[in-house]
Amino acid sequence: MERRARRKRGPASAGLALIATTLLAGLSTSAFAAEEVAKIDTGDTAWMLVSTALVLLMTAPGLALFYGGLVRSQNVLGVIMQSFTCMAVLTLQWILFGYSLAFGESHGGWIGGLDFLGLAGVGQDPNPAYAATIPHLVFMAYQGMFAIITPALITGAFAERMTFKAFLVFTLLWSTFIYDPMAHWVWGVGGWMRELGALDFAGGTVVHISSGISALAAAMLIGKRLGHGHEQMPPHNLPFTVVGAALLWFGWFGFNAGSALAANGLAANAFVTTHVAAAAATCGWMAIEWLQRGKPTVLGAASGAVAGLVAITPGAGFVTPLAAVAIGVLGGIICYYGIRLKESFGVDDALDVVGVHCVGGIWGAIATGIFASKAVNSAGADGLLHGGPGLLLTQVAAVLATLVYCFAGAWLLLKVTDALVGLRAEEEEEYAGLDLSQHSERAYVLGSVAD
Protein backbone atom coordinates (compact mmCIF):
# COMPACT_ATOMS: atom_id res chain seq x y z
CA MET A 1 0.00 0.00 0.00
CA GLU A 2 2.76 2.31 0.98
CA ARG A 3 4.14 1.62 -2.46
CA ARG A 4 1.01 2.91 -4.05
CA ALA A 5 0.98 5.79 -1.67
CA ARG A 6 4.37 6.97 -2.74
CA ARG A 7 3.54 6.75 -6.40
CA LYS A 8 0.32 8.65 -5.99
CA ARG A 9 1.94 11.47 -4.12
CA GLY A 10 4.06 11.94 -7.19
CA PRO A 11 7.41 13.59 -7.77
CA ALA A 12 6.81 16.67 -5.67
CA SER A 13 6.09 14.91 -2.42
CA ALA A 14 8.82 12.34 -2.85
CA GLY A 15 10.90 15.32 -1.95
CA LEU A 16 11.53 14.76 1.72
CA ALA A 17 14.17 12.38 0.53
CA LEU A 18 15.67 14.98 -1.67
CA ILE A 19 16.24 18.04 0.37
CA ALA A 20 18.41 19.65 -2.20
CA THR A 21 15.70 19.44 -4.82
CA THR A 22 13.23 21.15 -2.63
CA LEU A 23 15.58 23.90 -1.76
CA LEU A 24 16.68 24.39 -5.29
CA ALA A 25 13.13 24.54 -6.53
CA GLY A 26 12.89 27.92 -4.95
CA LEU A 27 16.02 29.22 -6.61
CA SER A 28 15.96 27.81 -10.06
CA THR A 29 13.33 28.54 -12.63
CA SER A 30 13.65 25.27 -14.44
CA ALA A 31 11.28 22.56 -13.29
CA PHE A 32 12.66 19.13 -12.53
CA ALA A 33 11.04 16.31 -14.42
CA ALA A 34 10.22 13.11 -12.58
CA GLU A 35 13.01 11.22 -14.30
CA GLU A 36 15.63 13.63 -13.16
CA VAL A 37 14.34 13.34 -9.62
CA ALA A 38 14.75 9.58 -9.63
CA LYS A 39 18.18 9.84 -8.10
CA ILE A 40 19.40 7.62 -5.35
CA ASP A 41 19.19 9.08 -1.87
CA THR A 42 22.01 7.67 0.22
CA GLY A 43 20.08 7.95 3.48
CA ASP A 44 17.07 6.10 2.12
CA THR A 45 19.34 3.52 0.55
CA ALA A 46 21.26 3.01 3.77
CA TRP A 47 18.04 2.45 5.67
CA MET A 48 16.64 0.06 3.06
CA LEU A 49 19.84 -1.98 2.90
CA VAL A 50 19.63 -2.34 6.65
CA SER A 51 15.92 -3.14 6.56
CA THR A 52 16.51 -5.80 3.94
CA ALA A 53 19.13 -7.45 6.09
CA LEU A 54 16.85 -7.19 9.13
CA VAL A 55 14.00 -9.00 7.42
CA LEU A 56 16.37 -11.83 6.50
CA LEU A 57 17.48 -11.97 10.12
CA MET A 58 13.86 -12.56 11.08
CA THR A 59 13.84 -15.92 9.28
CA ALA A 60 17.16 -17.11 10.66
CA PRO A 61 18.16 -16.88 13.38
CA GLY A 62 14.84 -15.21 14.39
CA LEU A 63 12.10 -17.62 13.41
CA ALA A 64 14.49 -20.59 13.41
CA LEU A 65 15.16 -20.06 17.10
CA PHE A 66 11.59 -19.13 17.97
CA TYR A 67 10.24 -22.31 16.40
CA GLY A 68 13.32 -24.40 17.17
CA GLY A 69 12.95 -23.82 20.89
CA LEU A 70 9.30 -24.82 20.86
CA VAL A 71 9.67 -28.33 19.46
CA ARG A 72 11.06 -31.37 21.20
CA SER A 73 14.80 -31.79 21.11
CA GLN A 74 14.73 -34.55 18.51
CA ASN A 75 13.13 -32.18 16.00
CA VAL A 76 14.95 -28.92 16.53
CA LEU A 77 17.26 -29.30 13.56
CA GLY A 78 14.42 -30.34 11.32
CA VAL A 79 12.56 -27.14 12.12
CA ILE A 80 15.59 -24.91 11.83
CA MET A 81 16.46 -26.57 8.54
CA GLN A 82 13.12 -25.62 7.07
CA SER A 83 13.63 -21.93 7.82
CA PHE A 84 17.18 -22.03 6.55
CA THR A 85 16.14 -23.81 3.38
CA CYS A 86 13.56 -21.12 2.67
CA MET A 87 16.40 -18.61 2.67
CA ALA A 88 18.26 -20.66 0.08
CA VAL A 89 15.60 -22.01 -2.24
CA LEU A 90 13.22 -19.09 -2.28
CA THR A 91 15.99 -16.61 -3.02
CA LEU A 92 16.65 -18.44 -6.26
CA GLN A 93 12.96 -18.73 -7.01
CA TRP A 94 12.57 -15.02 -6.39
CA ILE A 95 15.35 -13.76 -8.62
CA LEU A 96 14.61 -16.24 -11.37
CA PHE A 97 10.87 -15.64 -11.69
CA GLY A 98 9.13 -14.92 -8.40
CA TYR A 99 9.89 -11.21 -8.36
CA SER A 100 8.63 -10.89 -11.90
CA LEU A 101 5.37 -12.66 -11.09
CA ALA A 102 4.84 -10.34 -8.16
CA PHE A 103 6.08 -7.00 -9.44
CA GLY A 104 6.22 -7.35 -13.22
CA GLU A 105 3.82 -5.46 -15.47
CA SER A 106 0.35 -6.45 -14.36
CA HIS A 107 -1.83 -8.80 -16.35
CA GLY A 108 -5.28 -7.61 -15.47
CA GLY A 109 -4.42 -7.09 -11.85
CA TRP A 110 -3.95 -10.83 -11.35
CA ILE A 111 -0.32 -11.58 -11.93
CA GLY A 112 2.88 -9.85 -12.95
CA GLY A 113 4.40 -10.42 -16.37
CA LEU A 114 7.73 -11.94 -17.20
CA ASP A 115 9.53 -8.65 -17.76
CA PHE A 116 11.78 -9.06 -14.71
CA LEU A 117 12.61 -12.71 -15.36
CA GLY A 118 16.10 -13.44 -14.12
CA LEU A 119 16.25 -9.84 -12.87
CA ALA A 120 16.23 -8.49 -16.41
CA GLY A 121 15.96 -4.72 -16.11
CA VAL A 122 16.45 -4.77 -12.35
CA GLY A 123 19.56 -2.71 -11.86
CA GLN A 124 21.38 -0.15 -9.79
CA ASP A 125 19.03 2.67 -10.79
CA PRO A 126 15.73 3.26 -9.05
CA ASN A 127 12.45 1.98 -10.38
CA PRO A 128 10.26 5.01 -9.63
CA ALA A 129 7.07 2.98 -9.95
CA TYR A 130 7.93 1.38 -6.63
CA ALA A 131 10.67 3.37 -4.95
CA ALA A 132 12.14 6.45 -6.50
CA THR A 133 15.11 7.02 -4.24
CA ILE A 134 16.76 3.62 -3.86
CA PRO A 135 18.32 1.24 -6.39
CA HIS A 136 15.81 -1.11 -7.97
CA LEU A 137 17.98 -4.00 -6.80
CA VAL A 138 17.42 -2.96 -3.20
CA PHE A 139 13.65 -2.86 -3.63
CA MET A 140 13.81 -6.31 -5.22
CA ALA A 141 15.97 -7.72 -2.43
CA TYR A 142 13.79 -6.17 0.25
CA GLN A 143 10.68 -7.74 -1.22
CA GLY A 144 12.53 -11.03 -1.60
CA MET A 145 13.07 -11.26 2.14
CA PHE A 146 9.29 -11.13 2.63
CA ALA A 147 8.93 -13.95 0.13
CA ILE A 148 11.31 -16.01 2.28
CA ILE A 149 9.77 -15.56 5.68
CA THR A 150 6.15 -16.05 4.67
CA PRO A 151 6.37 -19.74 3.76
CA ALA A 152 8.76 -20.26 6.67
CA LEU A 153 5.98 -19.19 9.02
CA ILE A 154 3.78 -22.03 7.82
CA THR A 155 6.30 -24.67 8.87
CA GLY A 156 5.24 -24.27 12.49
CA ALA A 157 1.91 -25.92 11.74
CA PHE A 158 3.28 -29.20 10.41
CA ALA A 159 6.36 -29.25 12.64
CA GLU A 160 7.73 -32.56 13.92
CA ARG A 161 6.12 -34.75 11.27
CA MET A 162 6.45 -33.60 7.66
CA THR A 163 9.29 -35.02 5.58
CA PHE A 164 11.88 -32.61 4.32
CA LYS A 165 11.11 -33.55 0.76
CA ALA A 166 7.43 -32.75 1.13
CA PHE A 167 8.26 -29.45 2.79
CA LEU A 168 10.48 -28.54 -0.14
CA VAL A 169 7.94 -29.36 -2.83
CA PHE A 170 5.09 -27.69 -1.00
CA THR A 171 7.08 -24.56 -0.26
CA LEU A 172 8.10 -24.06 -3.86
CA LEU A 173 4.55 -24.59 -5.07
CA TRP A 174 3.08 -22.36 -2.42
CA SER A 175 5.47 -19.51 -3.09
CA THR A 176 4.78 -19.60 -6.78
CA PHE A 177 1.03 -20.09 -6.76
CA ILE A 178 0.01 -18.34 -3.56
CA TYR A 179 2.61 -15.86 -2.42
CA ASP A 180 3.63 -14.33 -5.72
CA PRO A 181 0.06 -13.64 -6.89
CA MET A 182 -0.97 -12.34 -3.46
CA ALA A 183 1.99 -9.95 -3.41
CA HIS A 184 0.96 -8.77 -6.86
CA TRP A 185 -2.66 -8.21 -5.89
CA VAL A 186 -1.78 -6.14 -2.87
CA TRP A 187 1.45 -4.36 -3.78
CA GLY A 188 1.93 -4.65 -7.53
CA VAL A 189 1.12 -1.63 -9.68
CA GLY A 190 -2.35 -2.46 -10.94
CA GLY A 191 -2.93 -5.29 -8.47
CA TRP A 192 -6.64 -5.69 -7.83
CA MET A 193 -6.63 -5.42 -4.05
CA ARG A 194 -4.50 -2.33 -4.30
CA GLU A 195 -6.95 -0.87 -6.76
CA LEU A 196 -9.77 -1.77 -4.43
CA GLY A 197 -8.23 0.55 -1.85
CA ALA A 198 -7.39 -1.98 0.82
CA LEU A 199 -4.61 -0.81 3.13
CA ASP A 200 -1.80 -3.19 4.01
CA PHE A 201 1.31 -1.32 4.99
CA ALA A 202 3.74 -4.17 5.50
CA GLY A 203 1.99 -7.42 4.80
CA GLY A 204 -0.95 -8.27 7.02
CA THR A 205 -2.79 -10.10 4.27
CA VAL A 206 0.14 -11.06 2.06
CA VAL A 207 2.30 -12.40 4.85
CA HIS A 208 0.31 -13.24 7.94
CA ILE A 209 -3.21 -14.15 6.89
CA SER A 210 -1.95 -16.03 3.86
CA SER A 211 0.53 -18.10 5.83
CA GLY A 212 -1.79 -18.47 8.81
CA ILE A 213 -4.72 -19.87 6.89
CA SER A 214 -2.45 -22.10 4.81
CA ALA A 215 -1.08 -23.41 8.08
CA LEU A 216 -4.59 -24.46 9.01
CA ALA A 217 -4.95 -26.43 5.82
CA ALA A 218 -1.58 -28.04 6.39
CA ALA A 219 -2.28 -29.04 9.99
CA MET A 220 -5.65 -30.50 8.99
CA LEU A 221 -4.29 -32.51 6.09
CA ILE A 222 -1.18 -33.91 7.71
CA GLY A 223 -2.92 -34.94 10.92
CA LYS A 224 -1.82 -34.91 14.52
CA ARG A 225 1.60 -35.81 15.81
CA LEU A 226 2.00 -39.31 17.20
CA GLY A 227 1.17 -39.25 20.87
CA HIS A 228 -0.61 -35.91 20.59
CA GLY A 229 -3.14 -35.66 23.37
CA HIS A 230 -1.49 -38.41 25.43
CA GLU A 231 2.14 -37.47 25.72
CA GLN A 232 3.37 -34.14 26.92
CA MET A 233 5.27 -32.17 24.34
CA PRO A 234 6.83 -29.29 26.21
CA PRO A 235 9.13 -26.86 24.41
CA HIS A 236 12.67 -28.14 24.66
CA ASN A 237 14.52 -24.84 24.90
CA LEU A 238 12.56 -21.76 25.92
CA PRO A 239 15.60 -19.48 26.07
CA PHE A 240 15.96 -20.10 22.33
CA THR A 241 12.32 -19.19 21.87
CA VAL A 242 12.64 -15.91 23.75
CA VAL A 243 15.81 -15.02 21.89
CA GLY A 244 13.98 -15.79 18.67
CA ALA A 245 11.07 -13.58 19.70
CA ALA A 246 13.42 -10.73 20.58
CA LEU A 247 15.17 -11.05 17.23
CA LEU A 248 11.80 -11.05 15.49
CA TRP A 249 10.93 -7.84 17.33
CA PHE A 250 14.27 -6.32 16.30
CA GLY A 251 13.95 -7.46 12.70
CA TRP A 252 10.36 -6.31 12.49
CA PHE A 253 11.61 -2.72 12.54
CA GLY A 254 13.01 -3.49 9.10
CA PHE A 255 9.81 -5.25 8.12
CA ASN A 256 7.47 -2.43 9.10
CA ALA A 257 9.50 0.76 9.18
CA GLY A 258 11.34 -0.41 6.09
CA SER A 259 8.00 -0.56 4.30
CA ALA A 260 8.11 3.22 4.14
CA LEU A 261 10.90 2.58 1.61
CA ALA A 262 12.66 5.67 2.92
CA ALA A 263 14.23 7.06 6.08
CA ASN A 264 11.53 9.62 6.71
CA GLY A 265 8.77 10.59 9.10
CA LEU A 266 6.57 7.79 7.91
CA ALA A 267 9.30 5.27 8.70
CA ALA A 268 9.54 6.85 12.13
CA ASN A 269 5.81 6.46 12.64
CA ALA A 270 5.89 2.82 11.56
CA PHE A 271 8.90 2.18 13.78
CA VAL A 272 7.16 3.56 16.83
CA THR A 273 3.79 1.90 16.24
CA THR A 274 5.57 -1.40 15.73
CA HIS A 275 7.48 -1.10 18.95
CA VAL A 276 4.47 0.07 20.91
CA ALA A 277 2.17 -2.65 19.61
CA ALA A 278 4.69 -5.36 20.45
CA ALA A 279 5.02 -4.00 23.96
CA ALA A 280 1.29 -3.56 24.44
CA ALA A 281 0.48 -7.05 23.20
CA THR A 282 3.08 -8.56 25.50
CA CYS A 283 1.36 -6.78 28.37
CA GLY A 284 -2.04 -7.88 27.11
CA TRP A 285 -1.13 -11.55 26.85
CA MET A 286 0.65 -11.53 30.21
CA ALA A 287 -2.27 -9.86 31.90
CA ILE A 288 -4.93 -12.19 30.59
CA GLU A 289 -2.76 -15.21 31.37
CA TRP A 290 -2.11 -13.95 34.86
CA LEU A 291 -5.82 -13.48 35.43
CA GLN A 292 -6.84 -16.79 33.95
CA ARG A 293 -4.00 -19.08 34.92
CA GLY A 294 -2.58 -17.43 37.98
CA LYS A 295 0.83 -16.77 36.46
CA PRO A 296 2.32 -14.91 33.53
CA THR A 297 4.59 -17.18 31.51
CA VAL A 298 7.70 -16.45 29.53
CA LEU A 299 6.29 -18.23 26.52
CA GLY A 300 3.17 -16.14 26.90
CA ALA A 301 5.18 -12.94 26.89
CA ALA A 302 7.11 -14.01 23.80
CA SER A 303 3.94 -15.09 22.05
CA GLY A 304 2.28 -11.82 22.96
CA ALA A 305 5.12 -9.85 21.42
CA VAL A 306 4.80 -11.75 18.17
CA ALA A 307 1.03 -11.36 18.23
CA GLY A 308 1.38 -7.60 18.61
CA LEU A 309 3.89 -7.40 15.80
CA VAL A 310 1.55 -9.35 13.54
CA ALA A 311 -1.40 -7.17 14.49
CA ILE A 312 0.33 -3.87 13.76
CA THR A 313 1.84 -4.97 10.45
CA PRO A 314 -0.97 -3.82 8.14
CA GLY A 315 -1.54 -0.54 9.96
CA ALA A 316 1.97 0.44 11.06
CA GLY A 317 2.17 3.36 8.63
CA PHE A 318 -1.46 4.44 8.95
CA VAL A 319 -2.21 4.63 12.66
CA THR A 320 -0.91 6.68 15.57
CA PRO A 321 1.23 5.31 18.39
CA LEU A 322 -1.72 5.55 20.76
CA ALA A 323 -3.86 3.53 18.37
CA ALA A 324 -1.01 1.04 18.36
CA VAL A 325 -1.48 0.60 22.09
CA ALA A 326 -5.07 -0.43 21.52
CA ILE A 327 -4.23 -2.63 18.56
CA GLY A 328 -1.48 -4.27 20.57
CA VAL A 329 -3.30 -4.91 23.82
CA LEU A 330 -6.30 -6.31 22.01
CA GLY A 331 -4.05 -8.25 19.66
CA GLY A 332 -2.39 -9.96 22.59
CA ILE A 333 -5.70 -10.89 24.16
CA ILE A 334 -7.31 -11.99 20.90
CA CYS A 335 -4.40 -14.25 20.02
CA TYR A 336 -4.36 -15.70 23.53
CA TYR A 337 -7.83 -16.94 22.77
CA GLY A 338 -6.91 -17.55 19.14
CA ILE A 339 -4.57 -20.38 19.98
CA ARG A 340 -7.39 -22.10 21.84
CA LEU A 341 -9.42 -22.42 18.68
CA LYS A 342 -7.43 -25.47 17.67
CA GLU A 343 -8.78 -27.36 20.66
CA SER A 344 -12.31 -27.02 19.34
CA PHE A 345 -11.30 -27.83 15.79
CA GLY A 346 -9.26 -30.82 16.91
CA VAL A 347 -6.38 -29.70 14.76
CA ASP A 348 -2.76 -30.12 15.82
CA ASP A 349 -1.34 -26.78 14.73
CA ALA A 350 1.89 -27.62 16.51
CA LEU A 351 3.37 -24.16 17.01
CA ASP A 352 0.17 -22.10 16.81
CA VAL A 353 0.60 -20.49 13.44
CA VAL A 354 -3.13 -20.15 12.96
CA GLY A 355 -3.81 -18.69 16.36
CA VAL A 356 -1.11 -16.08 16.05
CA HIS A 357 -0.63 -15.26 12.39
CA CYS A 358 -4.05 -15.86 10.93
CA VAL A 359 -6.07 -14.56 13.84
CA GLY A 360 -3.63 -11.75 14.59
CA GLY A 361 -3.44 -10.83 10.92
CA ILE A 362 -7.21 -10.61 10.61
CA TRP A 363 -7.40 -8.44 13.69
CA GLY A 364 -4.69 -6.21 12.27
CA ALA A 365 -6.47 -5.75 8.96
CA ILE A 366 -9.70 -4.89 10.69
CA ALA A 367 -7.96 -2.64 13.18
CA THR A 368 -6.44 -0.75 10.28
CA GLY A 369 -9.97 -0.19 9.02
CA ILE A 370 -10.88 1.20 12.41
CA PHE A 371 -7.86 3.28 13.40
CA ALA A 372 -6.27 4.44 10.11
CA SER A 373 -5.94 8.19 9.82
CA LYS A 374 -4.93 10.48 7.00
CA ALA A 375 -3.27 12.68 9.57
CA VAL A 376 -0.64 9.99 9.92
CA ASN A 377 -0.27 9.19 6.24
CA SER A 378 -1.98 11.37 3.72
CA ALA A 379 -1.66 8.62 1.15
CA GLY A 380 -3.71 6.31 3.35
CA ALA A 381 -7.36 6.62 4.28
CA ASP A 382 -9.53 7.39 7.27
CA GLY A 383 -10.84 4.46 9.27
CA LEU A 384 -14.05 4.04 11.21
CA LEU A 385 -12.93 6.19 14.13
CA HIS A 386 -12.05 8.98 11.78
CA GLY A 387 -15.36 8.90 9.98
CA GLY A 388 -14.65 6.44 7.20
CA PRO A 389 -16.74 3.24 7.42
CA GLY A 390 -15.92 2.43 3.81
CA LEU A 391 -12.34 1.46 4.58
CA LEU A 392 -13.45 -1.12 7.13
CA LEU A 393 -15.61 -2.86 4.54
CA THR A 394 -12.77 -2.85 2.05
CA GLN A 395 -10.49 -4.36 4.65
CA VAL A 396 -13.00 -7.10 5.44
CA ALA A 397 -13.37 -7.86 1.77
CA ALA A 398 -9.61 -8.15 1.35
CA VAL A 399 -9.40 -10.45 4.35
CA LEU A 400 -12.14 -12.72 3.07
CA ALA A 401 -10.64 -12.94 -0.38
CA THR A 402 -7.28 -13.81 1.13
CA LEU A 403 -8.75 -16.47 3.40
CA VAL A 404 -10.62 -18.16 0.62
CA TYR A 405 -7.89 -18.08 -1.98
CA CYS A 406 -5.10 -19.16 0.34
CA PHE A 407 -7.00 -21.90 2.13
CA ALA A 408 -8.26 -23.45 -1.08
CA GLY A 409 -4.94 -22.99 -2.82
CA ALA A 410 -2.89 -24.43 0.01
CA TRP A 411 -5.24 -27.39 0.32
CA LEU A 412 -4.83 -28.16 -3.35
CA LEU A 413 -1.06 -27.79 -3.29
CA LEU A 414 -0.79 -30.01 -0.24
CA LYS A 415 -2.82 -32.67 -2.02
CA VAL A 416 -0.52 -32.38 -5.00
CA THR A 417 2.53 -32.64 -2.76
CA ASP A 418 1.09 -35.65 -1.00
CA ALA A 419 0.47 -37.34 -4.31
CA LEU A 420 3.98 -36.57 -5.50
CA VAL A 421 6.12 -37.40 -2.49
CA GLY A 422 3.89 -38.07 0.51
CA LEU A 423 3.49 -35.48 3.25
CA ARG A 424 4.25 -37.40 6.35
CA ALA A 425 7.28 -39.15 7.81
CA GLU A 426 7.04 -42.83 8.70
CA GLU A 427 6.00 -43.70 12.22
CA GLU A 428 9.51 -44.91 13.11
CA GLU A 429 11.00 -41.73 11.70
CA GLU A 430 8.66 -39.60 13.70
CA TYR A 431 9.53 -41.42 16.94
CA ALA A 432 13.23 -41.10 16.26
CA GLY A 433 12.73 -37.46 15.40
CA LEU A 434 13.18 -35.54 12.20
CA ASP A 435 16.76 -34.63 13.01
CA LEU A 436 17.91 -38.21 12.73
CA SER A 437 15.42 -39.47 10.20
CA GLN A 438 15.53 -36.59 7.72
CA HIS A 439 19.05 -35.30 8.21
CA SER A 440 21.05 -37.99 10.05
CA GLU A 441 22.15 -35.48 12.65
CA ARG A 442 21.66 -34.86 16.32
CA ALA A 443 21.30 -31.36 17.70
CA TYR A 444 23.08 -31.75 21.02
CA VAL A 445 25.89 -34.01 22.20
CA LEU A 446 26.38 -32.64 25.64
CA GLY A 447 27.35 -35.71 27.61
CA SER A 448 30.42 -37.84 27.54
CA VAL A 449 28.66 -40.89 26.17
CA ALA A 450 29.16 -40.95 22.44
CA ASP A 451 25.52 -41.82 21.98
Partner: protein
Protein backbone atom coordinates in the same frame (compact mmCIF):
# COMPACT_ATOMS: atom_id res chain seq x y z
CA UNK B 1 12.53 -57.33 49.36
CA UNK B 2 13.63 -57.16 45.78
CA UNK B 3 14.77 -54.55 43.38
CA UNK B 4 13.18 -54.74 39.97
CA UNK B 5 15.18 -52.99 37.28
CA UNK B 6 13.68 -52.52 33.86
CA UNK B 7 15.31 -51.08 30.76
CA UNK B 8 12.53 -49.84 28.45
CA UNK B 9 11.93 -47.63 25.44
CA UNK B 10 11.59 -43.98 26.48
CA UNK B 11 8.20 -43.38 24.92
CA UNK B 12 6.80 -46.24 26.99
CA UNK B 13 7.66 -44.60 30.28
CA UNK B 14 4.32 -42.92 30.89
CA UNK B 15 2.37 -46.05 30.11
CA UNK B 16 4.51 -48.20 32.39
CA UNK B 17 4.27 -45.67 35.18
CA UNK B 18 0.48 -45.56 34.89
CA UNK B 19 0.21 -49.33 34.98
CA UNK B 20 2.43 -49.55 38.01
CA UNK B 21 0.43 -46.90 39.79
CA UNK B 22 -2.73 -48.75 39.02
CA UNK B 23 -1.46 -51.87 40.81
CA UNK B 24 -0.52 -49.79 43.82
CA UNK B 25 3.16 -49.07 43.35
CA UNK B 26 3.91 -45.91 45.26
CA UNK B 27 7.39 -45.09 44.25
CA UNK B 28 9.98 -45.63 41.60
CA UNK B 29 13.13 -44.07 40.30
CA UNK B 30 13.95 -43.40 36.69
CA UNK B 31 17.29 -42.87 34.96
CA UNK B 32 18.14 -41.96 31.40
CA UNK B 33 20.52 -44.54 30.01
CA UNK B 34 21.95 -45.65 26.70
CA UNK B 35 21.44 -49.22 25.60
CA UNK B 36 23.49 -51.43 23.42
CA UNK B 37 21.90 -54.67 22.25
CA UNK B 38 20.38 -56.44 19.33
CA UNK B 39 18.44 -53.40 18.18
CA UNK B 40 20.67 -51.64 15.74
CA UNK B 41 21.53 -48.00 15.99
CA UNK B 42 21.72 -45.38 13.31
CA UNK B 43 24.18 -43.52 11.16
CA UNK B 44 24.96 -39.86 11.48
CA UNK B 45 26.47 -37.63 8.86
CA UNK B 46 28.67 -34.63 9.59
CA UNK B 47 30.23 -32.97 6.59
CA UNK B 48 30.40 -36.28 4.83
CA UNK B 49 31.90 -38.22 7.72
CA UNK B 50 29.75 -41.17 8.72
CA UNK B 51 29.36 -41.98 12.38
CA UNK B 52 27.77 -45.28 13.33
CA UNK B 53 25.98 -44.97 16.61
CA UNK B 54 25.19 -48.19 18.48
CA UNK B 55 23.85 -46.67 21.65
CA UNK B 56 20.17 -46.03 21.79
CA UNK B 57 18.31 -43.90 24.30
CA UNK B 58 16.55 -46.04 26.91
CA UNK B 59 15.02 -45.44 30.27
CA UNK B 60 15.88 -47.46 33.35
CA UNK B 61 13.24 -47.96 36.03
CA UNK B 62 14.17 -49.05 39.51
CA UNK B 63 11.51 -50.13 41.92
CA UNK B 64 11.94 -51.79 45.26
CA UNK B 65 9.11 -54.13 46.13
CA UNK B 66 8.24 -56.66 48.77
CA UNK B 67 8.92 -60.27 47.88
CA UNK B 68 5.27 -61.06 47.32
CA UNK B 69 4.76 -58.24 44.83
CA UNK B 70 7.67 -59.06 42.57
CA UNK B 71 5.80 -61.27 40.16
CA UNK B 72 2.99 -58.80 39.76
CA UNK B 73 5.29 -55.88 39.18
CA UNK B 74 7.41 -57.72 36.64
CA UNK B 75 4.34 -58.84 34.77
CA UNK B 76 2.89 -55.35 34.76
CA UNK B 77 6.03 -53.79 33.37
CA UNK B 78 6.33 -56.54 30.82
CA UNK B 79 2.87 -55.94 29.52
CA UNK B 80 2.99 -52.17 29.46
CA UNK B 81 6.44 -51.89 27.92
CA UNK B 82 6.00 -54.42 25.18
CA UNK B 83 5.73 -53.28 21.57
CA UNK B 84 6.88 -56.64 20.22
CA UNK B 85 9.68 -55.03 18.35
CA UNK B 86 13.34 -55.58 18.96
CA UNK B 87 14.81 -53.34 21.61
CA UNK B 88 11.86 -53.49 24.00
CA UNK B 89 14.31 -54.08 26.79
CA UNK B 90 14.85 -56.26 29.84
CA UNK B 91 13.72 -56.69 33.40
CA UNK B 92 16.12 -57.81 36.12
CA UNK B 93 15.33 -58.82 39.68
CA UNK B 94 17.94 -58.35 42.40
CA UNK B 95 17.86 -59.15 46.11
CA UNK B 96 17.65 -56.26 48.57
CA UNK B 97 18.64 -56.63 52.19
CA UNK B 98 17.42 -53.47 53.75
CA UNK B 99 15.35 -50.41 52.97
CA UNK B 100 15.25 -47.14 54.91
CA UNK B 101 12.93 -44.20 54.51
CA UNK B 102 15.13 -41.21 55.18
CA UNK B 103 12.36 -38.90 56.32
CA UNK B 104 11.13 -41.17 59.13
CA UNK B 105 13.87 -43.71 59.63
CA UNK B 106 11.39 -46.53 59.00
CA UNK B 107 13.00 -49.78 57.86
CA UNK B 108 11.94 -52.78 55.86
CA UNK B 109 8.75 -53.00 53.89
CA UNK B 110 7.21 -50.14 55.87
CA UNK B 111 9.79 -47.90 54.28
CA UNK B 112 8.56 -48.57 50.75
Amino acid sequence: MKKVEAIIKPFKLDEVKESLSSIGAQGLTVTEVKGFGRQKGHTELYRGAEYVVDFLPKVKLEIIVSDESVAKVVETIEKAARTGRIGDGKIFVLPVEEVVRIRTGERGSEAL
